[in-house]
Symmetry: C2
Subunit: 370 residues, 2 copies
C-alpha cells in the first residue's frame, strides 16, 4: 500500500450568508476540506465522509507538515476498503468546528472579535446544508455515497432526508435518529464541566487562558462512554501505576492515567466553545420528532447500509435497528450489519477490518447498479 500526503483546502460559502435553521444569518463561512483520489469524468465516484464530534477534515493520509495520520486512514486510501484509486473522497470540517471551518473561535465580521457565544445556534441540518454547497462547489451533482459514524452518522441521516436526490447511497454508522435523555445527560455534564471552569468566562477566553480543565473533564467523560467495560478491562484491568502509599488523588490506576492523558491531549487541539455548540447540535437533532416511523425516509431512492456494534452502549444497536425499521417501512433498500466487537462506541474507528469489508462490498454493489 502507498501512503498519501494530504493538503487542506478551504471553501468560502457563496452567497456570503447562510440562513440557519434557527432563522439567523451567518456569514461569511469558510469550510476546510480534504479530498483523496480523483473525480472521474462522469463525476459519479464521489463519496462524502462526515466526521464525529472530535473529528476534522483530515480523514486519510498524512499531512506534509506534521505527519499526522487521518482519523479513518485505515479505511480510506489507495487499495484500502474505501479505495481512493477508484473513489473520490471528500471530508470537510463541520460548521461550528475549530479545525479550519467557521466556528465560535472565528472572527465575527461585525465586531472584528471572535464570535465566542455570539456564534448562532447551529444544527446538524445547517452542517449538512454547508456540505451540500461544498459538494456543488466541487461540481458534483450526485454523491455516490455519504458515510459517517456517531455524529457523522447523524449527518448521513440528515442527507437522506434533506437531499435524498443528491445521494445514491448512504451509510449511517453507530448513530441514532435522536438522542435519548441519557445521551443528552452525558453531553450536558461535559458542557457543565466547561462552563464551570472559571477560565471559560462566558466563552470570552480567546487571547487568555482557555478552560482547559473543563474541556479535559468533558473529554474524560466522553471517553468512558466511547469504550466498553470489556475493552477497558482488556486495556487496563485494575493495574496500578503508582504505589498506593503515594496516594494524593493523582492517577493511580492505569485507566485513570489514560483518561487524564486523553483529556489533556484533547485540549491542545479543540476549542471548548466548539464542544458546547457541537454537542448541543447533537442533542437537538431529532428526525423523528413525532413523525410516524414509516414516513421519515419516504421516497428515498438511495440504497442504505446501516452498521452498529454490539458492545456500543452510547449508541446501542437498538437505535440503529430503529433506523433500519424506519427505512424498511418506507420501502428503502436497506442492509443492516450488527458487528461483534468489544471496542464499544469507538469500534466504528477501530474495528475497521469487518466494517471496511462490509462497506467495500456495499459500495461495489452500488457501483454495479449504474
Amino acid at each position: 500500500m502507498h501512503n498519501i500526503k494530504t493538503k487542506q483546502f478551504t471553501f468560502a460559502f457563496p452567497p456570503n450568508e447562510l440562513i440557519l435553521e434557527s432563522g439567523k444569518k451567518l456569514g461569511p463561512i469558510t469550510i476546510a476540506y480534504e479530498t483523496y483520489g480523483k473525480l472521474n469524468k462522469e463525476k459519479t465516484n464521489a463519496i462524502l465522509v462526515t466526521h464525529a464530534l472530535s473529528g476534522d477534515a483530515h480523514a486519510s493520509g498524512s499531512h506534509e507538515e506534521d505527519g499526522i495520520v487521518g482519523w479513518w486512514d485505515k479505511l480510506i486510501g489507495p487499495e484500502k476498503f474505501i479505495d481512493t484509486n477508484k473513489f473520490f473522497v471528500i471530508c470537510s470540517n463541520i460548521l461550528g468546528g475549530c479545525r479550519g471551518s467557521t466556528g465560535p473561535a472565528s472572527i465575527n465580521p461585525n465586531t472584528k472579535k471572535e464570535y465566542a457565544t455570539d456564534f448562532p445556534i447551529i444544527s446538524i441540518g445547517d452542517i449538512v446544508n454547508v456540505q451540500k454547497e461544498l459538494v456543488g462547489h466541487l461540481n458534483i451533482n450526485k454523491l455516490l455515497s455519504v458515510i459517517g459514524g456517531s455524529m457523522g452518522g447523524m449527518q448521513v441521516l440528515q442527507w437522506m432526508i434533506t437531499y435524498p436526490e443528491k445521494i445514491k447511497s448512504a451509510i449511517p454508522i453507530a448513530t441514532t435518529m435522536k438522542h435519548t435523555p441519557q445521551q443528552i445527560a452525558f453531553n450536558e455534564v461535559g458542557r457543565q464541566a466547561i462552563i464551570s471552569d472559571p477560565n471559560w468566562k462566558k466563552g470570552r477566553y480567546y487571547g487568555s487562558k482557555i478552560p482547559a480543565k473543563g474541556l479535559a473533564l468533558a473529554r474524560m467523560i466522553g471517553h468512558i462512554t466511547y469504550m466498553s467495560d470489556d475493552s477497558m478491562k482488556i486495556k487496563f484491568g485494575r493495574r496500578f501505576k503508582l504505589n498506593k502509599e503515594n496516594y494524593k488523588f493523582g492517577a493511580e490506576f492505569e485507566v485513570e492515567e489514560y483518561l487524564h492523558y486523553r483529556g489533556d491531549s484533547f485540549v491542545k487541539r479543540f476549542d471548548p466553545n466548539s464542544y458546547l455548540y457541537i454537542t448541543k447540535a447533537m442533542d437537538y437533532f431529532n428526525i423523528v420528532n413525532g413523525k410516524r416511523l414509516g414516513s421519515i425516509f419516504k421516497g428515498l431512492k438511495a440504497k442504505v447500509l446501516v452498521i452498529s456494534f454490539k458492545s456500543d452502549w452510547l449508541y446501542p444497536s437498538q437505535q440503529s435497528q430503529k433506523i433500519v425499521k424506519a427505512c424498511k417501512l418506507a420501502w428503502v433498500k436497506t442492509t443492516y450489519c450488527n458487528i461483534s466487537s468489544n471496542y464499544g462506541h469507538d469500534a466504528f474507528l477501530l474495528e475497521v477490518k469487518e466494517e471496511g469489508q462490509i462497506i467495500k462490498h456495499f459500495l461495489n454493489s452500488v457501483l454495479s447498479k449504474d
Copy 2:
C-alpha cells in the same frame, strides 16, 4: 403504619486510636448512628444496615428537628419489610463520611484544624472495623444480618470475610467484589471535577468557599450512572424546559434541569473531600485480589441473600452473579434474586416492594433456624 421520630447518637471509638489497613493510626474517632426498634434480651435480633456513597446514619423514620425522612424508610420501620417491631436495626455513618462521623472535615487533634487531605487513606475494611466496634459497644455479639446496597454491599461483603463469626446472615445488594476499570473511571472523573475546581485548594477550603461546582458535577455524573436509559426516558423523554430561542447553554431539556438540581442539592449536604476519600475506598476495594473464586468466602457459616437489578448498568447483575458463584463454590448457603426493574442502580432504593418482600422472607427464614 406508625411513623417514628429518630435521634442520632454518637459513639467514640475506644481505644482512642484505630490502626488502619494502611498501617497509619487515626483517632479519636466519632461515629454517628441511629437505631430503630428494641434489642431483645437474647440480643439475637440486631441488624446492621450499611449505607451507600451519599448515604448517612439516617436510614428510617423522620428527624425531630427537620422532618427529613430516612433513605431506606420504605424498607425499615414498624410493620415494614424490615420490621422494627421485631428487629433492632442499626445504621451508622461511615468512617470518612461527613454526616456526624469522623472524616476529612473533622478536627485533627494534632493541628486543631480540619484534616482535609491529611486525613489518612481509608478502606472498606477500615469502615467495617469501626462498625464492628460500634456493634460491640451496643453489647451485641452476633448480628442477625448485615444489609446494604452499592457501597453498602461492599461493606456487607467485607463483614462476610473479616467477621464471618459475627454474622448470622448477610444481604449484599447491587454490588461487586471489586470495581472494574469503568467503575473506577466514573469515580475518577467525579474526583477530577472536584480537584479541578479552583475552590478546592488542595482540600483546604474549610472556612471559605467550598468546591461546589466540582462536587455538583461529580454528583451529576453519578446520577447518570444511577439511572437507566429507560428510567430517564420515562421520567424526562426529550421534553424541553425553555424555549429553544432562549438558548444560552443553560438547562433546556428536563433531564438537564434534573441533573443540575441533584448536583446543587447535594452540595448542601456533602463534603467534597469525603467524596474523594470514599470513592477511593470503593476503587481500592478488591476482595478477589488474585484469589481463587472458591476460596474467598471459605468457611463462612452465614446464610447469604444476593440481590441485583436487571437494568442496573453501574453494578450489573453479572457482578452479583459472581458473588453468588463465589459463595456456592465455598459451600455457603446462598439465595440469589435478579429483580426486574427499570430504575437502574437506583432500584435498590426505589424498587422496594419486591426487594422488601424478598428480604422479609429471607430474614424470617434466618430467624426460624434459631
